[in-house]
Every structure is written in structure tokens, then in C-alpha cells.
């Protein structure tokens, strides 16, 4: 329940770079990752890891943990890709695709060659795109992403909702955490049955508190002169780095060229 990703993004070493640069870099990386071949995708993943661990100084075990989470998702989904089934009568049609198989009743289950290829492709693509996504998560606090959205002319109602939701997420999350700890202190989640009951109480409390927060925020924003829009101002004090800009641009160029060569 602790969103430590958010904490890390406020303390990374690339914090002073303009958020536009970081976001742009990640989006370009993401685009290349989507359209390129597996070797280039692996290269992107490695390069992004250098940015995240080397330049932004995100502890390797944290970054590694996040990567293994993504790989874990991939692992849980490969059975669906690898294992296929057809009626025994149609077995001939998949002869080329089947690596090995077994017959269950009138059904034939087999390991699919195409499934292996697909799983491999997904693996490379996942590593590449996830590392680009993580680069944004680890180096750019949400508040700065929001400022970029405002500057590039994102509809006001969207940036307003994002602003409020970001605040409320942490508010409700800390409420949920407090309730959960308090329940634990009274042995709330002792048995499976009590676990379910306790969780349902927690959700109900959280819901009631959410509605109460609504009434209170209506009052407190009105007291501060709410005029129909949630607008805020923030100062700009970012420093672009020539060295990083150069490496990012050259690197992307090399990747695009590499994509044609492989």
C-alpha cells in the first residue's frame, strides 16, 4: 500500500532536468521499442537501465525488483501462449506447429512452436517498453508530468481532475493504511473468515470517509474562494544538461540505424 515509486521520483539525481526532456526521451524510446526488432529492444532495455541505475541513482535492487515484477507477469501469461489444443481429428493441421503433445479424450493438447516465438517477441518488447516506462516513473514526479500536460495544452478539466486525484489518492491511501494497521492491532485478519470480514469493514469505512471528504472539501475549497476551476501556479527552475541531451539524441539515432541493420 506504500507507493514508494512516488517517493523515489522526488529524490532521483535527474530531478533537475526539465520534465519535458525526460518525458520526450521516454516517449521516443517507447516508440523505437515498439517498432524495432528484439536485438534493438534488448539494447534499449540495457541503455535505459544505465539511465535509471547509473544516472538517476535508483538503487539496483529496487529497479531489479520492478523488472522482475514485469517478467513475472510475462511468465504467468506464457502458458496461455505455449499450450494449444485441437480436436484429435484435426491433429494433422498443426503438425508443423506442434513441438510435443498429448491426447486427452478426443482432444489433443500440444506445445506450440508459434507460441514460443510469440512469447520470445513479447519478452523483448516488454523489457524494452517497461524500462522506458520505469524511466519516467523513477525520474519524473507526477506533479511535474502534470505541469508538462498543462503547458502542452491538455484540456483544463483533465489536468484539474489529475491534480485532485493525485492528492486524494494519497489521502485515501493513508486512511486505508491507518485503518488496516488499527485492525491488525486488534488481530483483525487472524483467520480467513475474519480476514474477509475485516476487509469488507475497511472498504466500507473507506467509502464513508470518501463521501465525508467530499462534503469537507466542498466547504474548504469554497472558503478559499473556489470559482469553478482548480487552477494552481508552480515555479520553474529546471536546468537542461547538454551532456544528457547529447547522449539521449545520439543514442536514439544509433538505435534507429541499428534497427535497419538488424
Amino acid at each position: 500500500m506504500h507507493l514508494w515509486l512516488d517517493n523515489l521520483s522526488y529524490n532521483n539525481r535527474l530531478r533537475q532536468l526539465p520534465p519535458e526532456h525526460k518525458l520526450g526521451f521516454a516517449l521516443v524510446g517507447l516508440t523505437i521499442a515498439l517498432i524495432s526488432h528484439p536485438p534493438v529492444q534488448i539494447a534499449i532495455a540495457l541503455w535505459m537501465s544505465v539511465w535509471i541505475v547509473g544516472y538517476a541513482r535508483i538503487p539496483f535492487n529496487i529497479y531489479g525488483g520492478m523488472l522482475s515484477l514485469a517478467i513475472g507477469f510475462w511468465v504467468t501469461s506464457i502458458p496461455a501462449l505455449l499450450i494449444s489444443g485441437v480436436a484429435v481429428s484435426a491433429r494433422a493441421s498443426i503438425q508443423a506447429d506442434a513441438l510435443s503433445g498429448l491426447t486427452i479424450g478426443s482432444y489433443y493438447l500440444y506445445l506450440s512452436y508459434q507460441g514460443f516465438v510469440q512469447a520470445g517477441l513479447i519478452f523483448a518488447r516488454t523489457l524494452a517498453t517497461v524500462s522506458c516506462l520505469y524511466f519516467v516513473l523513477f525520474t519524473t514526479p507526477f506533479t511535474e508530468l502534470l505541469q508538462v500536460l498543462r503547458r502542452i495544452g491538455c484540456p483544463v478539466v483533465l489536468t484539474e481532475l489529475l491534480l485532485l486525484m493525485y492528492r486524494f489518492i494519497f489521502l485515501l491511501l493513508s486512511t486505508a493504511r491507518e485503518l488496516w494497521i488499527a485492525q491488525q492491532s486488534r488481530n483483525g485478519y487472524r483467520t480467513r473468515q475474519r480476514w474477509i470480514y475485516s476487509l469488507s469493514l475497511l472498504i466500507r469505512q473507506l467509502f464513508q470517509k470518501t463521501m465525508k471528504h467530499y462534503q469537507q472539501f466542498v466547504l474548504s475549497t469554497a472558503a478559499r474562494g473556489f470559482n469553478g476551476q482548480f487552477r494552481v501556479w508552480s515555479s520553474q527552475s529546471y536546468q537542461a544538461s547538454q551532456r544528457y541531451t547529447l547522449e539521449a539524441s545520439l543514442g536514439c539515432l544509433v538505435l534507429v540505424i541499428g534497427n535497419f541493420l538488424f
Partner: protein, 287 residues
């Protein structure tokens, strides 16, 4: 623009009372007992005022009425000698003049970073980016929050959140500041810092009205005290006036601050008092 407005208001307004409740009545829908019952109360200009009373005596409702968030069901409220007019524009003007800091900062802070939250009230007034970018750093500096400017609100401690919620109201330079239990849950260090900040705000000309349970604080700090009981004004006056009414306070289960009792005792000391008598009396008070 708003700064000038405020100054002229202050100059024009020769009235002694900044806000005046005239026979105000307010009941929450679905309840029988009125939260505010025929309350007549005047907040003196430029003073440090305190509201004391039991939980549920109507303090919070009083604040919401003074800020124009609630409309009296009977009676009326004057600000600067003029009856409040509950139309949009007058309300916006009123809320800029009457700043309200809620008890729980969690329910007041809405933006993601400290500087964004402090700028919210200014943005509501439709000020230019230039004016805002000048005013916000001033306030950050005044409240010693500059190093937190870019910090997200959810990473702050409670004391810091309270400070930010106060800064977000003071950035509008209100004439009257309403504070609901500002010292609750604060440690002695932060309480002292708050006292200093409020002293500065007061000397700069802001009238302050604070609801609190800390009677020692009231004795030391307030110029004027209102005692509320069940939505009615039971008593008002200087701390001295109020705290000498021991019987009345007792009835509403309020005690007399230690410091006040001792000071009164010392005032009574004369040539004929022996040191043993004084000692015994002090021990009685301390018990």
C-alpha cells in the same frame, strides 16, 4: 489590486467591529437543537480573540457563518459595518477578507505540491502569473517553507501541513483570520513557532479569531475571549474579565488557567500575608 483594496477598506472602515453577528440562528438540517441560537457577537478590529467552550458549543458553525459558507436562517451578519449580501461577487470578496484555516489540514490542502497549494487562492482571484510568482515566494519565505516549495503535500509532517494550510490562507492577506484548533496534536516546539508566526500576522494588522481548548494559551495570548455554550454567547471580555467568573465557567465545565489563578493570588498579596499562608494557597491551587 487586492492589496490596495484591503488597505482602503481598512482606512475607510472606522468601525470598531470587524464582524458583527446580529441575533443569528442556524440549525443543521435533520437536527433539533440549533448549532447557533440567537447569537449576537462582535469581533473587535485588530484584536487577538479566542473562542472557548465545550466540543459542540458551535465554534465551527460560527466560523463557517463568518466566512459566508453558511447563511444564517435568522438574523444577519455584518462585515466591516455592512450586512453580508449572499450573492456570488460579495461572497468572493468576503472570503478573501475572511480567511478560514480548518482544524484538519488534510481536508484543506488540495494541490500536489506546497507552492501549488499556496497559489490556489491567488489563482481563484484571477491574478496574473506575474503577480502570483511574486507573492507566493514571499509567503513561502515568511512561513519558512521555501525549502519545501516543490515537496508533495502528502510527504509533509502534520506540523508542516498545518503551516501550509495557514500560508495558503495568509497569501490572500485577509483582514480577519479564523483558526480552528491550530495547536491540537502539535508538539511544544511547533506550538511556539506557531505563536511567533501569529504574532507577526497580528502586528501586520490582521484580526485573529481562534477556537481552542488550550486555556493556558488563551490566558497568555488573547486580547478578547468569547465563551460559547450551546450556540449562545455566555460571556465575553478580556481574559481577566472572563477568568474571574469562576462559577459561570464551572457551570460549562471550563477551568481557570493555572497561570491566571497564580497571578490573581499574587495580586492579593499584601504586607500582612505571611510566607506560609502564601505557600499554602499556592499548594491549594496546584493540587
Amino acid at each position: 489590486m487586492y492589496v490596495i483594496n484591503q488597505v482602503t477598506n481598512a482606512e475607510n472602515n472606522m468601525s470598531q467591529w470587524l464582524v458583527e453577528f446580529q441575533d443569528v440562528y442556524y440549525t443543521y438540517p435533520g437536527t433539533n437543537q440549533p448549532a447557533i441560537a440567537n447569537l449576537t457577537l462582535r469581533i473587535p478590529q485588530g484584536k487577538r480573540c479566542a473562542v472557548i467552550g465545550q466540543n459542540g458549543c458551535g465554534k465551527t458553525t460560527l466560523f463557517l457563518l463568518a466566512n459566508g459558507l453558511y447563511k444564517p436562517q435568522q438574523g444577519g451578519i455584518c462585515y466591516g459595518g455592512k450586512r453580508i449580501n449572499y450573492n456570488r461577487n460579495s461572497l468572493i470578496e468576503l472570503r478573501q477578507q475572511v480567511g478560514l484555516v480548518f482544524q484538519n489540514p488534510e481536508q484543506q490542502l488540495i494541490a500536489s505540491t506546497v507552492e501549488e497549494d499556496i497559489s490556489y487562492g491567488l489563482c481563484n482571484l484571477g491574478l496574473s502569473g506575474k503577480a502570483i510568482s511574486k507573492r507566493v515566494p514571499q509567503v513561502l519565505d515568511q512561513f519558512e517553507l521555501t525549502s519545501f516549495a516543490k515537496k508533495p503535500v502528502h510527504q509533509l509532517s502534520l506540523g508542516q501541513k498545518k503551516l501550509v494550510s495557514l500560508a495558503g490562507v495568509m497569501v490572500l492577506q485577509p483582514s480577519l483570520l479564523l483558526l480552528d484548533e491550530p495547536t491540537a496534536y502539535l508538539d511544544p516546539l511547533h506550538t511556539r513557532q506557531l505563536a511567533q508566526t501569529l504574532a507577526t500576522i497580528h502586528t501586520e494588522g490582521t484580526t485573529i479569531l481562534m477556537a481552542t481548548h488550550d486555556l493556558e494559551w488563551v490566558d497568555r495570548w488573547a486580547d478578547w475571549v468569547f465563551v460559547l455554550n450551546r450556540g449562545k454567547l455566555l460571556l465575553e471580555g478580556t481574559p481577566k474579565d472572563v477568568f474571574t467568573q469562576g462559577d459561570l465557567l464551572n457551570k460549562v465545565k471550563l477551568s481557570i488557567p493555572l497561570r491566571f489563578q497564580l497571578s490573581s493570588l499574587l495580586d492579593e498579596v499584601n504586607q500582612s500575608t505571611t510566607i506560609e499562608q502564601l505557600k499554602t494557597k499556592i499548594l491549594q491551587i496546584l493540587d
